[in-house]
Amino acid sequence: MAEIALNQKRRRINAVSIPAEVAINIVMILFCALCIVPFILVIIISFSAEDSIRAIGYSFLPQAWSVAAYEYAFKLGDALWRSYFNSFYITVLGTILSLIVYILYSYALSRKDFKYRNLFTFINFFVMLFGGGLVPTYCVTKQLLGLSDSYWAIIIPMLLNPFNVIVLRTFFQSSVPDELIEAASIDGSGEYNTLFKIVVPVAKPGIATIGLLTAIAYWNEWFIPKLYISASDKLHVPLQYLLMKMQADAEYIAKNSAAMGAEAGMAMMNLPTQSLRMVLVVLVVFPIACAYPFFQRYIISGLTIGSVKG
């Protein structure tokens, strides 16, 4: 009893007043609702009957429910599952490779005794500010490296984001004390051993954060596949691009309907329905939403990068 009382009392020490707490909670709940409601609407639309969408538009309370769009989506069969697999494959492989590159690059930059540190920092910084532009990038990827219609065409162009290198370098500098590295080398640890056995475990929150950002970037990427995965290649299309393609087809025809004339109407008839597009949104978002809770604790510790340490 005494303990509970003590606990209650202790909690009150840092607590804000009751009205303030209520107000803050309401604001936060509203904010959460703003984030979640659109997604709930998407789920509802994906389960709405197409007739209901025609009659009353998007609504939280459709006139009729239907799983027709899901049935249709699953009938897409091979194309859909293949895309699902591709997205997972690209995300997992891409994130692992990219983390290796990030760790090696950022760790080297974080070491004050690395001779060409400034030069490589400069290179990293320079490409952050000045990109080559679309056409040269396309030329290098497609013609020089010969990357098209393969997983590598999606993975390699996204392997390194200079901004993440800077974040991770800062994290290494602030969370891994120089003394630790010195102590390791005095104890006879080689550079790779120090990096992977000592530095990486200490820097796990930072690496996990970068890992999550990279994974999301790979999962959501549709522009790079659009450039390098040709329309007749059905083996390497990721899910997000499959969705974008449907969306882009509809927009393109709408935009050009004036000049296309009657063609537009005919092309339009073959497009997927609105509820089907929402089904794809659900399918795209679901896995990444499921992955969030597992990364959450790392993200929170990752967010405190640079905060004052006690």
């Binding site: 532009g133 056409v135 030329c139 013609q143 059905k234 004339g261 109407g265 092309a267 008839m269």
Partner: protein, 542 residues
């Protein structure tokens, strides 16, 4: 220190090199400019033009738009077998889709991808006239190397004159032909899309629509609204099309702003009525139209979602497909009523506002250009020639392999899908292979499908489209060079106000004067003056 400086210098040098030379010198790396590789084509031209021009086996790459193709292996095998015999070449098709064609073909052109033939037209980003000027296409009737005459005379001879005239443009090698136009539905005819089933229910007939015009539809619309309730919107329209239909104006070729208009005589589209290019929003006709459509909107005849750019298109398609409309707008193509009647489960009729006309935009609706970077332009031309004159090859490309992608009925017509009694598709033979047929070329070579009926192309299609007459200013195309700022500003104003005005959502007295003031500030007068100067020059040269 010295080392570091050296290294940075080396770095800068490499970067400069890679930016400038990334494309192996084939193209300039700056945004949209294309540097054609004349030397390449000349060399191979000289080599292959000897005794047998097609001695060497080559692979042609062909970039198409608007396809839905998931498995082309059977078709490609048949095509290549045939082409190997005929022109000693293999074909590789890049099946562009509606969504990816614009960006991807542009990149392929700008970076000099090894593509021999590109789809181009008046409405894609890699627009025919613009990219002919930039040197992306090879001039086909070049006096020094007239591959059109040498390898493409067959296709050229069967094309209607109006398409040949439409293909002439001012390119980087002088005025000439830079692409082979497709013999498809090139006439434009704006029509009222009428839900006859509902019309009859209301006690009206098709003559009631034919005898009225937009300004006198009121009673029919009111009857529909009264019969079907508040959630029913009888007028399902595409704002910009409606505006052109009501004011008898057409798109000005080369105008990217959507603010210019050119007027036609609806009873005789090829008659020169002395029309000038005008700022459409400043005309009396437009004001009258906008007031009427606003009146209909206020009465609840038009769905507010149609006046919102984000929802307009989905709403339009949904309401048409579910037959939730009475009168709509439609740019007509021959045989369209059969397609839509079947798809919507109602009787659809199209009531024309004008006779079909041909403007340059429609004449350039689908073309095949040979890339300036093609290493085998002669072979590419020979392929296009064969494709557009050989029914077997055209049918193979457009419909696939017999027995797999279509069946042949007893009367010789093609069955592409089996339907049950209600018209629902039971078996879709062409599910895996549906190229955009009308973007391929001469579709009149094809055997009609069961839906189109016997003699569709010879008895209906060809007479209908060859009867379409060219508009007075047919060869004219607006050239906005030097007016970039004004064009961008006017486009921005147009895109803010035009849709709500065209669909009646905006209050005309309030919005129209505001829009006109902004258009004036954006420099519309300068654009109109330049356009008319060019128009006068065109008529003078004719």
């Amino acid at each position: 220190m010295k080392m570091k400086k050296l290294l940075s210098l080396a770095l800068v040098a490499t970067m400069a090199m890679s930016t400038l030379a990334a494309c192996g010198g084939k193209t300039e790396s700056t945004s949209n400019d294309v540097a054609p590789v004349e030397s390449v084509s000349d060399e191979t031209g000289a080599e292959t033009a000897d005794s047998n021009p097609f001695e060497e086996h080559v692979t042609l790459r062909w970039y198409l738009d608007g396809n839905s193709v998931t498995n082309d292996s059977a078709v490609m095998e048949a095509i290549n077998k045939y082409l190997n015999e005929k022109i000693n070449a293999d074909l590789e098709i890049i099946w562009g889709t509606w969504g990816d064609f614009d960006d991807n073909s542009l990149l392929a052109i700008n970076s000099g991808d090894p593509v021999d033939i590109y789809f181009t037209c008046s409405w894609t980003k890699a627009e025919y006239n613009t990219y002919a000027k930039k040197g992306a296409w090879l001039r086909l009737d070049d006096p020094d190397n007239n591959i059109l005459k040498e390898y493409g005379s067959d296709v050229w001879n069967i094309l209607p004159q109006v398409l040949k005239d439409g293909a002439v443009t001012d390119g980087n090698d002088g005025k000439g032909v830079y692409a082979i136009p497709g013999y498809k539905d090139f006439g434009t005819q704006n029509t009222w899309d009428v839900n006859v089933t509902l019309l009859k229910e209301l006690g009206y007939t098709l003559e009631d629509i034919e005898s009225r015009d937009f300004f006198t539809f009121g009673d029919i619309l009111a009857a529909a609204k009264a019969a079907k309730g508040d959630n029913f919107y009888p007028l399902v329209i595409e704002g910009a099309v409606l505006e052109r239909m009501v004011t008898n104006s057409i798109i000005v070729n080369g105008d990217s702003t959507g603010a210019l208009s050119y007027y036609l005589d609806p009873s005789d589209v090829s008659k020169d009525i002395g029309s000038k290019v005008v700022n459409k929003f400043a005309t009396e006709e437009y004001k009258k139209f906008a007031e009427k459509v606003h009146e209909y909107y206020e009465l609840g005849y038009i769905d507010p979602a149609l006046a919102n750019g984000a929802t307009a298109n989905d709403t339009l398609v949904a309401q048409q497909n579910s037959a939730q409309y009475l009168i709509g707008t439609q740019s007509y193509a021959l045989g369209y009523e059969y397609t839509t009647s079947a798809a919507r489960g109602i009787e659809v009729a199209y009531v024309p506002c004008t006779s079909p006309y041909v403007d340059k935009t429609a004449a350039q609706g689908a073309m095949m250009a040979i890339s300036a970077t093609s290493e085998n332009p002669e072979r590419a031309m020979a392929f296009l020639n064969l494709l557009n004159t050989d029914p077997y090859l055209m049918q193979l490309v457009a419909y696939g392999v017999e027995g797999i992608h279509y069946q042949v009925a007893d009367n010789g017509l093609l069955i592409r899908e089996e339907k049950d009694a209600d018209g629902n598709v039971v078996t879709n033979y062409h599910e895996e292979y549906t190229p955009w047929r009308n973007g391929l070329g001469n579709i009149t070579l094809l055997t009609p499908t069961v839906d189109e009926g016997e003699g569709f192309f010879t008895d209906k299609f060809i007479p209908y489209y060859t009867s379409a007459r060219a508009i007075p200013a047919f060869g004219y195309s607006f050239d906005g060079t030097g007016l970039d700022t004004e064009l961008a500003a006017v486009t921005s104003v147009q895109s803010t106000y035009a849709l709500p005005l065209d669909c009646g959502a905006a209050d005309v007295d309030e919005v129209l004067p505001k829009m006109l003031a902004e258009l004036e500030a954006a420099g519309i007068d300068k654009i109109v003056a330049a356009a008319n100067e060019q128009l006068d020059a065109y008529f003078a040269s004719k």
